[in-house]
Amino acid sequence: MLDSCTQVLAGGDCQVTTASNGAQGLKLVAEIQPDLIFLDLKMPGLSGLEVLEKIRAQHPLMVVIVITGYATVTSAIEAMKKGAFDFLPKPFTPEELRLIARRGLEHGRLVQQTVALRREKEMLRKNFAAIVSHELKSPLGALQQNLYGLVAELEDKLSKEQQERFGRLQSRLEDLLKLIHSWLRVFTVDINKLKETFQPISVADVLAKAVETVQQHAIRKAIEIQSSVVEPLPRIQGDEGSLTEVVVNLLNNAVKYSFPNGSIRLRAEAQGPQVLVSVTDTGVGIAKEDLPHLFQDFARGHSQPEGVSGCGLGLAISRRIVEVHGGSITVESAPGKGSTFTICLPVAQAAPESSPTPERKV
């Protein structure tokens, strides 16, 4: 049996090593760390299932295919439950063996890749703050500081045009620094921490602040922001700064994707136990295929109007902030007609929810 299998598998890029019982097999597994293991369930001494358990305990990523006797579906299922990748019932043809070996190896490669990617992602997340702040933020900050300094020193020597150029340089740098800040937010800051400082806030205040921030930007494109608050509007429990950031974000997008001379409607109203805030524009709209990915990191639509730039993090951050508030954010859009983004936020409860798990005394 071993010999014939070896013959089938050997050659090509496979190297086959065999063991004739469980104990010997386990020793070999530790020694050569194979990419794929075929394990007969019926063996003298240590049973196949025991061997499987031991392999999985020591090498959780190892791909094991069990070979079962005829009509022993139960033990095959048992083995699968214990972490076998697949099973091959006896008797099998050489073609079946090759096929399952190929699938097993492919699976092993994918598992390894996934693990490596996960590790990389974690490393990136952990080191991102340090890398970004030191390697990017410090030099940019020093640059900006020197522009500030130069403008102060040269105040009376610069022509109007030169002053404007300095101003543009400063605003470009500021945009870059802001961008870095949002990267840091996404990758390193635990947004759940916001909850610790939640307090009752007025949605009308949030709207007013957001409009104030975006107004200049809108005026430059001759876009009118029509803001309406349907009173009475109950307070919500939240963080004013970050909710304002969300509304600013939505308004900025609306301005960005609107045609000049257009208008944007910002509206807040209570609806049952929720406060709804919606931002409606009559801009370019969003293609149907882009909608499902809209709130994901780095998601940007495929059909971008000319001259529009961004990194696709704004909506992802907004979604996280809204979700931390126990709310949701949704979008409706028709290409060529415009989009409506709606935030639902739960109204603040009169009494706080039952306090988290009371201390247990033993």
Partner: protein
């Protein structure tokens, strides 16, 4: 005209220092600079200053904080107002878990983020100097 106020800045990034210094000199302050905590402390001991501008993230970590703590223990330097200039707010929160983002190192201090716009910088510096002066007048 009264004597110009003397400021000391401790920060390990010479380019950043140049940008800050330009603004302060333009506003008629006298500015000395130290590029590491050791020289900075030396300078503080050798000359009287009206205000310290301090970067907290220097060298291998928060070396600036060590200076702030040392100042707090020195009976003479304890009164010196400190304007903390930091590269990143989140890191501050990280350094002082459980504390507000604005940790008070010394009785009179303020915190600004890099880069800092001239208007804000001058406002903070003036406010700190004023508070320090008022306190001095009171104690007399």
């Amino acid at each position: 005209m009264s004597e110009p106020k003397r400021l000391l800045m401790i920060d390990d990034d010479p380019d950043f220092v140049a940008g800050i210094k330009a603004i302060l000199v333009k506003a008629k302050y006298e500015v000395d600079v130290a590029y590491n905590p050791k020289d900075g402390f030396q300078a503080l001991k050798s000359k009287p200053y009206d205000l310290l501008l301090l970067d907290v993230m220097m060298g291998r970590g928060a070396e600036g904080i060590m200076i702030a703590r040392k100042l707090g223990k020195d009976p003479k330097l304890r009164e010196l107002p400190v304007l903390i200039i930091t590269g990143i707010r989140e890191q501050m929160a990280f350094l002082f878990p459980g504390q507000a983002v604005h940790p008070h190192f010394v009785p009179v201090d303020e915190l600004v983020e890099k880069p800092v716009a001239p208007k804000l910088l001058l406002e903070k510096v003036e406010a700190l100097l004023k508070t320090a002066e008022m306190r001095k007048a009171k104690s007399k």
